[in-house]
């Protein structure tokens, strides 16, 4: 029998068992739609991350105390301590003024911002909350920070009891919005808000000298991190080598006993990409389960179909059908189920990925929305047809191998 005729008979089988076929197709639709939606979220998150980190540029480095082996996934060693047994001393590694002086002496460096951070109690109009405070060197912070000001101004060198706050802290953290020149109480000290950042954070920034007074556990002249802006992105690697060499010299450490780590935005991007890839793999594994369930549905339908059409197989064999013809008709039937399920699944997947950002709210990871690639459509369609054929193979083979005399007797 010609392939086109086999296809015609397979199509007839789908049409004549509408409900069962559609229920099987539904299984594939759910699987494919999940895969498309998850892949689109993954692509959207990737895009979102690229947008966020792309603005960082490659000219910013972050220096933190602690060995690079214990660097946290966000590139800093701020929350870690040296654990290596070959470190000469048991003391906590610190970043101090001497480190800053060394850095400032390196000609490739344009600016150095020293920072400390910790949580503080903030009170505004009788309401209070625990807020993340970052003390910055106000003379250079405005040049280094990636945050943009929405209202008011950045910190400047003459500032004392003033703060710049994140967008969400200003707008919705407390019952009433905090405006420019409003006073807030931080650890029982009154500060004036001079600027609101154009972001959705609840962060609070103030001159580092004031921050030392607010954060009891911080020692004057010791920093949590040092942000370094280099003059040109192209000399990043060269500058990094120089910084490491100078710091190792002044801190009396070797490559093995190194007690600091330097991360760039590229490191950050890579770490996040790896995280994202792991998360995508996990989500895809969940979606794959739906597809497997769909495949089991196809196999079940095909087995039932072969059983139901045993007599028909016998009739067809009696009038000249070869095993190959029977096999192809059932395989085409399974592939058609996969194909139709795949196409509808893709349509639902695209719709789902379109409405997901709205359903999930504007989370940071989905700021750029979702993105359905042609690749994901091709993969989903191939997988759905492949699954149909794979799941239909055994029943089709069994059907084709039926002895005509037995099949004809089947009632």
């Amino acid at each position: 029998m010609r392939l086109i005729k086999c296809l015609k008979h397979a199509f007839g089988m789908v049409v004549h068992s509408k409900i069962r076929s559609w229920l099987t197709i539904l299984g594939i639709v759910i699987g494919v739609a999940s895969v498309i939606a998850i892949m689109s979220i993954g692509a959207g998150m990737q895009q979102s991350m690229t947008d966020q980190l792309g603005g960082l540029g490659g000219d910013i480095l972050t220096l933190t105390a602690g060995s690079s082996s214990s660097t946290s996934m966000f590139g800093g060693g701020r929350f870690s301590s040296r654990t290596s047994s070959d470190v000469a001393t048991d003391e906590e590694p610190l970043l101090e003024r001497t480190d800053v002086q060394v850095l400032r002496a390196i000609p490739n460096i344009e600016a150095v911002d020293t920072q400390i951070s910790g949580n503080v109690d903030v009170n505004y109009l009788g309401k209070s909350g625990s807020i993340r405070l970052t003390g910055v060197d106000q003379k250079v912070w405005a040049r280094i920070t990636l945050s943009k000001i929405k209202e008011g101004r950045m910190l400047d060198s003459a500032d004392q009891n003033v703060v710049v706050i994140g967008g969400r802290l200003a707008e919705s953290y407390f019952d009433k919005p905090i405006g420019i020149n409003q006073m807030i109480t931080i650890e029982e000290n009154v500060f004036r808000v001079v600027g609101v950042l154009d972001d959705s954070s609840t962060n609070l920034y103030m001159p580092i000298q004031m921050a030392y007074q607010m954060l009891d556990d911080k020692e004057n002249g010791v920093y949590d991190s040092i942000i370094i802006k280099i003059k040109d992105e192209e000399i990043l690697n060269e500058t990094l080598v120089k910084i490491e060499a100078k710091l190792m010299l002044v801190r009396h450490v070797t490559e093995k006993t190194k007690d600091f780590s330097i991360s760039s935005s590229a490191d950050l991007q890579q770490t996040r990409s790896e995280m994202l890839a792991s998360m995508n793999a996990f989500l895809l594994a969940i979606a794959a389960v739906s597809l497997i369930v769909g495949a089991v549905g196809v196999a079940n339908t095909m087995f039932t179909s072969v059983l139901e059409k045993t007599k028909q197989i016998g009739i067809m064999k009696a009038i000249g059908a070869r095993n190959k013809d029977i096999m192809l008709i059932f395989l085409f039937n399974a592939a058609l189920i996969g194909l139709v399920g795949g196409i509808i699944g893709i349509i639902f997947g695209v719709i789902l990925s379109g409405v997901l950002p709205a359903l999930m709210g504007e989370t940071m990871i989905l700021r750029s929305g979702t993105f359905v690639s042609i690749d994901s459509i091709i993969i989903a369609l191939s997988v759905s047809v492949g699954i149909g054929i794979l799941a239909g193979f055994v029943p089709a083979y069994q059907g084709s191998k039926l002895k005509p005399v037995d099949a004809l007797r089947y009632e």
Partner: protein, 237 residues
């Protein structure tokens, strides 16, 4: 006279669990090309087994069946299918039409399986349905046709691929006597006009009278081979 089918010491045994049930016991018979043979016998005598073997739907446990000089036990599945499609036509007691296909689709199916040119196939299927008097019911599903009409579709399907051998298994068994007579008339007409070899399985001795020759089976053995001299090609029963 050329033998189109030869049974040489053919036995067929079915395994029913632990028990072996013999259906045919070493039978020898030859069927001549163009003959109209009735295989008669009581229920369980081995008629259907013999028909399945002639129709290449099954192979013997012992002995040799030569169909157009080819030993069917030595043919591959694909060659057996081709032989069934091109040489043999079946008409079954229960019509065995595919319920989801129209009369026309049922009749054209053997030609599709043989990859016959579409235009020719459509013309041929149409012609066969007109020949059995169903030219106006081509697009009817089997469920929309009476038993007699379904059997006519079955006959049209059987003849459409122009097979040399027609195997008819109790073809009037599910029909009333008037319709049965009508169907036998059609079969007889086609035998006379198309010159086929017809092998008809029946337990009805009245139907056997339509045949030119009869083979009587009992307990898997041939007990009688008789000629009906009144029946000759071109002479109605």
């Amino acid at each position: 006279m050329e033998a189109i089918i030869s049974f040489k010491d053919v036995s067929k045994t079915y395994q029913m669990g632990e028990v072996e049930v013999p259906a045919l016991r070493g039978i020898n018979v030859e069927i001549i090309k163009g003959d109209f043979v009735a295989i008669i016998g009581a229920s369980g005598s081995g008629k259907s087994t013999m028909m399945n073997l002639i129709g290449c739907l099954d192979i013997p446990t012992k002995g040799k069946i030569l169909l157009k000089s080819q030993d069917i036990a030595k043919l591959s599945e694909s060659n057996l299918a081709t032989l069934r499609g091109k040489t043999i036509g079946f008409v079954f007691q229960q019509y065995n039409l595919i319920q989801t296909m129209t009369a026309f689709e049922n009749v054209i199916l053997p030609l599709e399986l043989q990859e016959v040119n579409d235009i020719f196939a459509k013309e041929r299927a149409k012609k066969m349905l007109e020949l059995v008097g169903l030219g106006d019911k081509m697009n009817y599903l089997p469920t929309q046709l009476s038993g007699g009409q379904q059997q006519r579709v079955s006959i049209a399907r059987c003849f459409v691929a122009n097979p040399e051998i027609i195997l008819a298994d109790e073809i009037t068994g599910a029909l009333d006597s008037v319709t049965g007579k009508e169907i036998m008339g059609i079969l007889k007409k086609l035998w006379v006009e198309e010159g086929k070899t017809i092998i008809m399985v029946t337990h009805d001795l009245n139907l056997a009278k339509y045949a030119h020759r009869s083979i009587e089976l009992k307990d898997g053995n041939i007990i009688r081979v008789g000629n009906n001299k009144k029946i000759r090609r071109g002479v109605a029963a």
